[in-house]
Amino acid sequence: MWEKIQQFASGFFVTGDPLIYGADVSIVLTMIAVVSALTYFKKWTWLWKEWLTTVDHKRIGIMYVIASLLMLFRGGVDALLMRTQLAVPNNDFLSPSHYNAIFTTHGVIMILFMAMPLMFGLFNLVVPLQIGARDVAYPFLNSLSFWLFFWGAMLFNMSFVIGGSPDAGWLSYPPLSEVSHSPGVGQDFYIWGIQISGIGSLMTGINFVVTILKMRAPGMKMMKMPIFTWSVLSSSLTILLAFPILTVTLALLFIDRYLGAHFFTLTAGGNPMMYINLIWMWGHPEVYIVVLPAFGVFSEVVATFSRKRLFGYASTVFALMSISVFSFFTWAHHFFTMGSGADVNIFFAISTMLIAIPTGVKVFNWLFTMYRGRISFQGPMLWMMGFIPCFVVGGMTGLLLSVAPADFQFHNSYFLIAHFHQVLIGGVAFGYFSGLYYWWPKVFGFKLNEKIGKWAFWLWNIGFYVCFMPQYALGLMGMTRRVNTYSWDTGWWGLNLVSTIGGFLMGIGFLFQVWQILHSVKFMERASGDPWGGRTLEWSIPSPAPVYNFASLPTVDEKDPWWEEKERRERGEPAWTLPPLEPIHMPKNSGIPIIMAFCFFLTGFGFVFHWLWIAIPGLVGVAGCMLAHSFNYNTDYYIPVDEIKRTEAAARGAV
């Protein structure tokens, strides 16, 4: 009996690596610490009532941000482990299989469990406030989306200590990811972790399309919307069209693995190339899904910190929307070397180049927003200034990659790695950081320390160039991606070492950001409702926003309504007439989303291990939650006028 348990445990838990035992211990210790702290301070009820069951977009946004920063930590540790392994030739710090697992989880986590949730966090924190809405269109669904992401991410991350991590690359190309070559459970964790959070992403896309189309303040026409809201709309529409492809593709891979079908297998007519096409039909738009909102953030930040209107609003809107359309016609540029022939390659090369046009236009619009402005380089604007040169150069190398015959030499090399990190860090990460710094006072009601923030910014920025510029060179030296080591005679050592140093500089930059947050929490410096001289509606209400956001809404028929109103007030002719207060209709909290998402988690876990005795109860639980919610009519309440008055007085008094 004992032997049987031992045998099971040695397969169930990942064993044999001191790094992983270390992680096991720290995970267990952290969990014990969290549970005892919650118990000691009697915070369990608070946690459940105020956070886990909340449907308030602001709190869901905060939970997204916290979760994504934790994932940034894990993805970052993965990155530093890889850089450590590559710092010197013939290194055996990580075994080949361990290295393969780490670059796989690094990619998946950074894109799907870091960038996506941080983006959804910003959507949630900002969009309803920017358009003058009380919440998103479907608050219950919003909470469900978050918990699906959360449990999907947990399922994926669990593979690190239970069962074994996936190790076939972040897009998991078959036949390598099929049972024939990856018989372990890692690939199943990959499939289910992404599927579950993917459903959440799709629902968030739906939620924000509807929110933006239907819930804008009176008078706010589409062409008067804040530009960040436009970018969220373009990103969400892209999600609607792209994520179903991902779901279907991974479902087919699951059927292959679980039921022995042959969609993508080597044998019996399976076609792995089909998978590669399908996954990039999602994968390429996905890149634009995450970068479009970053463009939106920068457009807000550049106008605010230049104290000037955004230049070329209409052409920026057109650029955003055209990118989301074009993004669906470029997928094959990820495999020009598949031998599709000259005609196909030319089509996809040119469709890729076309995207450079609207992207370039946006850069000019940002520059001319600064032109004849008054630019102050506070936190958010610093990231904007780091972004422009970085993204321009990254965009240029992207254009070089799109030249199909030249790509035959760049493809799968470190040149490619350097390119996409430059646009994803320089574009997406810098963009989200900028947004986070920009809206932080609005969300939490206090400012972040500028001085520590500057340190973080310069460490990130310098670290980035030190890390990735050498990688372009390494690509030209013939270094291919995903090699776990190299020999002395390649001549790759020097640049790899420099690159590793840069990676650690960015890691230190991240630590500075953590310190900045902790420091600012300790020496809390209260922020007013409008700490930056903002332009859009969210800055017209107190920080942090009251639960109902707006006590009452003015008619908004200008592009920068709050800025214009402030100008008018300065001239002594305020124009806003706020309608009288009325009881506010609000959604009620619900415990169903977290339970339902947990049931999805159980289902996934059951299928990973082929344990139907867990998977089936999990599915029953999902159905039960749907049923329970369908018959729940007690979903809303009204905030009485008295309470609104009290809240408003307290909030205004505090400022």
Partner: protein, 331 residues
């Protein structure tokens, strides 16, 4: 402030990169920039053309960024114009829709021309009669067969310089990519099909080649040397292999195809039709709807695994990674 910092940063970074380039020695390690073959050379030309086209826009934009950021910084003594309402200028916007459109148009035309010119399956122009080399990517090694010479090598390849080489490429393992940077760009090796890649070396030399597409555990070990020699040396080498090396049998191939790593090897003969068998092993189902095995002229033992429809298809020995214990393979 910002500008000075920016300059300082750029200087620091570029000197750092410059230093390491010197330290790591020798520009000749930049294999992509040092082509020794007609294909690689044209690809480098194209890289330079497209880089220059991009720089035409990029450099002014970078300069403009720093100038604007400096000139319009928020300082009380700043005398530069401030126009907070200025938000549109048709003239300017036409200009910066126009510039990228023109650049992209030029780049698109150049790209299209070069794409036809450098289509990898197109034979190269040469007086010399081409040599055919059949390449198979395996877990985790490269097999090169010379149908004309009747020999085979593993993990190294030799051919005469100034003679076009017609590579035919397939895979008996997860997809890989065949890349000899100094001769020219890469192409995927995929099971069930024979890809074509035409390359030619200008001068004798040893060029590093590698698998460029991740294919599992020991993928990093899939590099090889491509030796371009004189015709005489090549002929001598062929004779030597023919007289001294062991033959490659079907059994021998099956052992090669099993996952694992190995050193260089060469073989004095190859089983009849081996390359076609490897290709056909997986290609049958594509045209025949999956289950019709009649198109296989001579099904290799491994191909029957496709018939196994159980929940866990029992992989043939050739595709089973060593050691099924997931605790060893999957973390």
């Amino acid at each position: 402030m910002n500008l000075i910092r920016g300059i300082r940063r750029l200087a620091a970074v570029s000197s750092l990169i410059g230093m390491t380039m010197l330290l790591s020695g020798c520009m000749d390690k930049f294999v992509v920039l040092d082509p020794k073959g007609v294909v690689g050379r044209q690809q480098l030309d194209l890289m330079i053309i497209s880089l220059l086209l991009c720089l035409v826009v990029i450099v002014p934009v970078l300069i403009l960024t720093f100038v604007i950021a400096w000139r319009y910084r928020n300082k009380t003594e700043n005398k530069a114009a401030y126009k907070p309402q200025w938000e549109h200028s048709t003239k300017l916007e036409v200009v910066w829709w126009g510039i990228p459109i023109v650049i992209i148009l030029i780049l698109a035309v150049v790209t299209a021309q070069y794409t036809y010119k450098l289509e990898p399956s197109k034979p190269l122009q040469s007086e010399a009669k081409p040599i055919v080399i059949q390449v198979t990517s395996l877990d985790w090694k490269w097999l090169f067969q010379y149908p004309g010479q009747g020999i085979a090598t593993v993990n190294y390849v030799k051919f005469p310089a100034n003679v076009p080489v017609q590579f035919e490429l397939t895979s008996d393992a997860p997809m890989n990519s065949f890349w000899i940077p100094q001769l020219g760009g890469q192409i995927y090796t995929m099971s069930g099909m024979a890809m074509k890649l035409n390359l030619m070396a200008d001068e004798p030399g040893t060029y590093r080649g590698s698998g460029a597409n991740f294919s599992g555990k020991d993928f990093a070990k899939m590099h090889f040397n491509a030796d371009a020699t004189s015709q005489a040396d090549f002929d001598k080498w062929v004779e030597q292999v023919k007289s001294k090396s062991p033959p490659l049998t079907q059994d021998g191939y099956d052992r090669l195809a099993a996952p694992g790593v190995m050193e260089k090897a060469d073989y004095s003969s190859i089983p009849n039709g081996l390359f076609d068998r490897i290709v056909n092993k997986y290609s049958g189902g594509h045209s025949m709807g999956g289950m019709d095995m009649s198109v296989h002229p001579n099904p290799a033992p491994g191909s029957m695994q496709g018939m196994n429809m159980s929940v866990h298809p029992n992989p043939a020995p050739s595709s089973m990674p060593a050691g099924m214990d997931m605790s060893q393979n999957h973390h």
